[in-house]
Every structure is written in C-alpha cells, then in structure tokens.
C-alpha cells in the first residue's frame, strides 16, 4: 500500500485508470453493510476503510487540483520528468507546470472553482493546492514564471483569502475575492 500510494507510482498510471480504480475500491467498501454486527467484523471493516482511505481513496480527490477546460494552439503539461500535450478535460495535479506555446491559450478550473486562463508563451506552476472545507484546510499557491494569466477567484479566496498567493518574478499577489489579470513583459505585444 505504501508503494501503491507513492506519487511515483501514481505518475506511472494513466489518469483514467488510476481514478477509476481508486474510486471503485472506495465505493465497494462504502457500500458494505454497516449495520451493527459482530465487533470483530466491524473492527475489520473500519480498518479496511481507514487503510484504503489513507492509502488510496483519500488521495484521489487530493491528487486532482483541477481540470483543463479549453485549449487553443499548442500547450503542454509538465508532470515530474514527463511532458504531456494539454488536452480538454485533462486532470491537473499539484506541482504540474502549464506551458503555452507561441500560439497557445489554455483555460483551467481548479477544484475550488478558481478559474484561470493563460495566453501564449506563459508558464504557470501549481505549487500547492489544498481544498478541504470540512477540515478547514486551504491553499492555492501559483507561480507565474512568464506570460499572461487572467484569474477569477473561487472558494479558497472566499473561505481563506490569506491562503491564496500568486508568485511572479517581480512580486507576489495577494487577493480578496477578485478578478484580475497579470501580464509579464506585455508592452507592445499584440494579442
């Protein structure tokens, strides 16, 4: 289980297979009858739920930070050592790096409802993403390395504005429920 839950292992699996497998296992456990029965059996069930939850199931939603809503032109996602072509619907994870080409635009929806769009020649890293309202845990740390990003805040900014930070090479941005756009090196650039 330790191996199966490691990020390295997850990275080896196709997204669809991983999520499907993870969610199925949780579903099967969750649908097990939970009416009072023998203490030993109950204990066993709880153990199974806790183990799966911690090792696999609990990570499924945590692993996914958002999804790609639209792509125009050439855009890619760097995940660890791997570079993938960005496609509509692709799930994004913490530490993913979005890179748009000279003709590339990409739109993203984070799991807290934060919405982003990037213009050509942009590099954006999802440094940290935590959205867990039931535990009151929030973090949205983005790093805009170059290019242009438009941003509309979501639930994290609503619940915990100080948990939102956008870093750029010339300064960082803190927000209060807001819509803004950052352009690095934009003067004279026609779009």
């Amino acid at each position: 289980m330790l191996v199966a839950s490691s990020p390295a292992f997850h990275a080896l699996l196709p997204r669809s297979l991983l999520i499907d497998r993870v969610d199925r296992s949780v579903q099967n456990v969750a649908l097990t009858p939970t009416a009072p029965e023998l203490p030993l059996k109950t204990l066993l069930q709880i153990t199974v739920i806790v183990c799966l939850g911690a090792a696999v199931g609990g990570r499924a939603a945590e692993l996914v930070s958002g999804s790609i809503k639209a792509v125009q032109g050439s855009c890619s996602v760097q995940r660890g050592a791997e570079t993938m072509t960005a496609t509509q619907g692709m799930h994004l994870m913490e530490k993913d790096v979005l890179i748009t080409g000279p003709d590339g635009y990409v739109a993203v929806m984070m799991r807290d409802g934060t919405r982003l769009s990037l213009s050509p020649e942009t590099k954006l890293t999802i440094d940290q993403f935590t959205y867990d309202p039931s535990a009151n845990k929030f973090a949205l740390f983005l790093d805009l390395g170059r290019g242009v990003m438009a941003y509309v805040s979501g639930k994290i900014a609503h619940f915990s504005p100080e948990a939102v930070r956008i870093q750029t090479p010339v300064g960082s941005i803190g927000t209060r429920g807001t819509r803004f756009v950052v352009g690095l090196g934009v003067t004279g650039r026609a779009q």
Binding site: R15, Q27, A30, V64, M90, R115, S119, S134, G171, G174
Partner: protein, 213 residues
C-alpha cells in the same frame, strides 16, 4: 468635382487644426505605463470589485478600484502607484485571454428521505439537469458531497453521507457520466445547511451537493 473635394478636405483640415490650437479642454488621459509587468484589477462578474496587493522586496501596493494597474519593473524596486487603465487598452492586451475564462461551476442540491439513500421525488427530477450541465461544460470534474442531519452518531453519519454520495454517483453514472470524472466525499453532519441542535431530524440537511466544474 475633384477640385471641390480637395478644397473641402483642406477646409476640414484647417478647421481641425484651428480646433486643436484653441483646445483648452481637459487634458488627455495619461498614457498607459511603459513598464513591462502589469497587474490589473478588473471588476467582478457581479459588478463589485475586490482587491489585490502586489508585494515585492521594494514595497507593496494595493489595488481597490476596477480597471486600475500597478506596474512593477523589478523584484527589488517597489511597485508603482496604481493608475487608471483604459478599458480599450485592457481589451487590446488581454481581451482574448479574458474571453477564455471558463464558465463558473454549477451546484445542485439533492434531498433524501429519512435514514436512507432514497432520493425524494423532486430531487430525482433534477438528475437530468445535472447531466445537461456536465455535457454543456464538457466537465471531467464532478464533486458529490454527502450530508446528513444530526440524528445518529458522527461515525454512522459519515457513512450515511458517503452512502448517499455513492448512491448519487451510481445514478449519475447510469445517465452516462464517466466514473473517472466523479469524486465522492462525506461531510456527515459537520456541514449543516440548516443549523440545528443534536438529534434533530431536518429534511433540508439530508442532502448531497453536486458540483459540476
């Protein structure tokens, strides 16, 4: 004909020049900043305006007015003071990027009969709308969050909330939504829609929230 056109053009130019010379009207708006890095606060979609704070080693500036911009030269030089930015210039520089911002997420609430995972009749009728929202948005990210009222203990409520979420997942899958797009969780009785004391049967708290992104 041609001569007359030329003459009238000259007359027009003369008039424009004269107007320019004697023009004591308000000064033209300041040109947009020449710096390379621009932080622009925009009005929210509901017409209100939030704020951003731009901070670096040199200092910090807060923007609170819509369509204002702070320019930042370098990480060790304080951000410039906010100035107004022409809406047309914002559109010219960022219009295509702004137009690409996705449609907001949409939320549905489904309600359950007491103690179990059976949806009320009214809530069953909402399921097709969820499917429609998934298709419209081409969503690959649907959250189903199960909730209970405050009857029962927290363990059993956690399980009941999850069972309700899983039951809803099954129904949405049956409508044709890919299972890898759906994420279920339970908040048990920890996130009440209608605050109640312990052990209160409250139909509006027996619900799942479905968020289509």
């Amino acid at each position: 004909m041609r001569a007359r056109n030329a003459a009238s053009s000259l007359a027009l130019m003369g008039a424009m020049l004269a107007a320019g010379c004697h023009n004591a009207a308000p000064p033209a708006p300041p040109p947009p900043p020449m710096a390379q890095n621009l932080f622009v606060l925009l009005p929210n979609e509901d017409g209100t305006t939030g704020s951003i704070v731009v901070t670096n080693a040199g200092g910090s500036q807060q923007l609170t007015q819509a369509n204002t911009v702070v320019a930042v030269d370098r990480a060790d030089v304080a951000p410039a003071r906010p100035v107004a930015m022409d809406a047309g210039e914002i559109q010219r520089l960022f219009g295509r990027t702004l137009a690409l911002i996705p449609t907001p997420e949409v939320r549905f609430s489904l309600y359950f009969n007491i103690g179990g995972t059976a949806l009320t009749a009214e809530s069953l009728a909402i399921l097709p709308k969820i499917l429609e929202a998934c298709k419209e948005r081409q969503s690959t990210d649907v959250s189903i969050i199960g909730h209970t009222d405050t009857t029962g203990n927290s363990d059993s409520n956690y399980r009941l909330g999850l069972a309700r979420a899983e039951q809803t997942r099954k129904m949405i899958e049956d409508l044709g939504v890919d299972s890898s797009y759906i994420f279920t969780e339970s908040h048990g009785a920890s996130d009440l829609l209608v605050p109640t004391k312990d052990n209160v049967s409250e139909p509006r708290n027996r619900r799942v929230e479905v968020v289509v992104r």
